[in-house]
Symmetry: C2
Amino acid sequence: MILHSKPDKSDWKAILKRPVMEAASLEPTVLNILNEVSRNGDAAVRRFSLMFDKTSIDQFEVSEDEINMAGSSIPEALKKAIHLAASNIGSFHKKQSLPKEVIETMPGVHCWRRSVPIEKVGLYIPGGSAPLFSTILMLGIPATIAGCKEIILCSPPTTQGNLHPAILYTARLAGVNRIFRIGGVQAIAAMAYGTLQVPQVYKIFGPGNQYVTCAKQLVQKSGTAIDMPAGPSELAVYADEKANPVFVAADLLSQAEHGPDSQVLLVCVSPDTAHKIKREIDQQVELLERKRVAKAALSNSKIILVKDEEQAMELLNEYAPEHLILACENATSLAEQVINAGSVFLGHFSPESAGDYASGTNHVLPTNGYAKSYSGISVDSFMKTITFQRLSREGLMNIGHSVELMAAAEGMQAHARAVQVRLD
Amino acid sequence: MILHSKPDKSDWKAILKRPVMEAASLEPTVLNILNEVSRNGDAAVRRFSLMFDKTSIDQFEVSEDEINMAGSSIPEALKKAIHLAASNIGSFHKKQSLPKEVIETMPGVHCWRRSVPIEKVGLYIPGGSAPLFSTILMLGIPATIAGCKEIILCSPPTTQGNLHPAILYTARLAGVNRIFRIGGVQAIAAMAYGTLQVPQVYKIFGPGNQYVTCAKQLVQKSGTAIDMPAGPSELAVYADEKANPVFVAADLLSQAEHGPDSQVLLVCVSPDTAHKIKREIDQQVELLERKRVAKAALSNSKIILVKDEEQAMELLNEYAPEHLILACENATSLAEQVINAGSVFLGHFSPESAGDYASGTNHVLPTNGYAKSYSGISVDSFMKTITFQRLSREGLMNIGHSVELMAAAEGMQAHARAVQVRLD
């Protein structure tokens, strides 16, 4: 980890800069796959699955039987853990919708909003060495609570053409309707454009590598909504002198093991605290199975010493971390000062991994500084609001003259006429 | 208008297809301007202003004096109208935020969300023959209610280097902090990257031509959030036999006058009703100042006859119009069946122009079918939510074992360790 001791404020921007992801160079490759799937549907999906996932698949959809069987190959203890997590995620997400309220802005002018689920949504779950079933809970449960009618899931198959049972089991539990063994850019394309086998969706959610991210950004330009731009996962920790170095080191390492491009940031006022945590990291990292990955991530990571707590919060708000742990005595009051972060963990017994899996909050969060303008996933992400208005004759009379004057001043005569013909 | 009489459902997609906006061909031009401003700041903005707006400007920011003077050149009646609209927009938008609620998902596990304003936002208001000050109300008022700290506005200057007083007056009223006389792609670039004179913002809002839209999509890919993808404005009307043909024709024309690419759709069960409305349109269009524009828009527009009300709603939900007028007896109950639309106007005295200006609802709405997944602008658009959690030792014990099992199953050993070190 690189130590910056009381850097000048003018250097913050440079110190906090994330590594740039060069997506533009991937665009031609990704665009080609998107176009092929758009034109040739399932045949193209099949061809790319053979090319990238090394498996030849006729029927992309996983059968009911296969889904129903999945549970039998998952240890009971893990099933119980998944159910507990699902229950907490359900409790937390259930409470997030806005009540309908009709507002009479003037006598006879009634306006209201109604939240409506997005009818068709697609979830993408990446492949890799282990099945990321926890993300299925984080996307599927809010989609189900929102009331989306069609919730489909795509995930890359093994070379035998299968999906991991934990993926199937969790997807069913979370309320996913249909599951497809398709990965990568071809999965994003199939969901964005629809094929004979895969239904078109209106919004695509979920993490992925840089090809998947690029594909999501490209289909967004042509009309399919996406959850948010994805980047490498991040954790910032603010630790005061009461922080337990063993805990903080373990938290930083839990982030560092995600990938060599993970971002880890430690902010302290006390050099002594920073030093103790650093020493703990050096010891604990050796105990990890994924220590090579963690060490790579740590080599890009930073310890920043600041002059006081106020400056710590200012710096952290400027960084806008995906995850922020406030490992300090006054965590709850300090939390009020957080304005840019995805998810915040308060005190000494709230490790990031609690929120990653089972506390109930969502773990699909804005990375790369996007917490300045984006929220993490919630039930709202699976809904949209429609506004309604009903004016009586009296209501139209109350605002009609203003509408006419404003429309005329904007050169919109026909807009004014639509009022006039009704009031004449 | 083109009449489709009881088209087969398999033809709906083709009939409802919007004209494709070919944005890809603009990208190199737009990207070049973005890059120039990113590299050369104000000097590049100045150069493009001279090139596109034909005006040479040193200080882009409009002075306090100029803003304070603006009111004196606006007729009192128009000012009153603007204030009435602002008051209604304020009343409607004020009520939209979610209360904070701490949820104990398990004993000792407290989770909550907090809505936080996006600190810095930029509003873009296009130029043209008339000042679109109503859009300033629609963006500035929710931004102010949200509590955004820096609300800046860019709009293209006249060849004399000025902005219209109605723009300045409305911007001040709506709570805009700083106003810049910059238009087009160079304005989007200045707000996305920041220059010496223009502060960088985190999210950019507002309509614009296809160059501006393309610029917004490109800066979105590199990290600046945008409100939504913009397209030509649209109106669909469902008219039953009780609908007043004079009113409906005036509504359709109020949309058609927006631009030659505006979309207008009339859906009826009764051929007689459709015929009467069509005849009214032909008569009323001749009365309009902008009749050339309206006629061009009408030439692409459609009347669709369907077999019954149910099919009408199905077709309209498939189209997902920006604006939808239900000009029918049972408008309020029918409104419950709307699932894809931006803003809906019920009954015979709710013209679209009411919502465009003064009823209180927002007029920045999803076009081009995006109402299937996007909401119109609200206070939420200027905020993001952060999740917080605080676990006690007991809380961590209650979920700790589940976290460990799930993390292990996902191959995330360090995630499990972050729990273990705390519970050991």
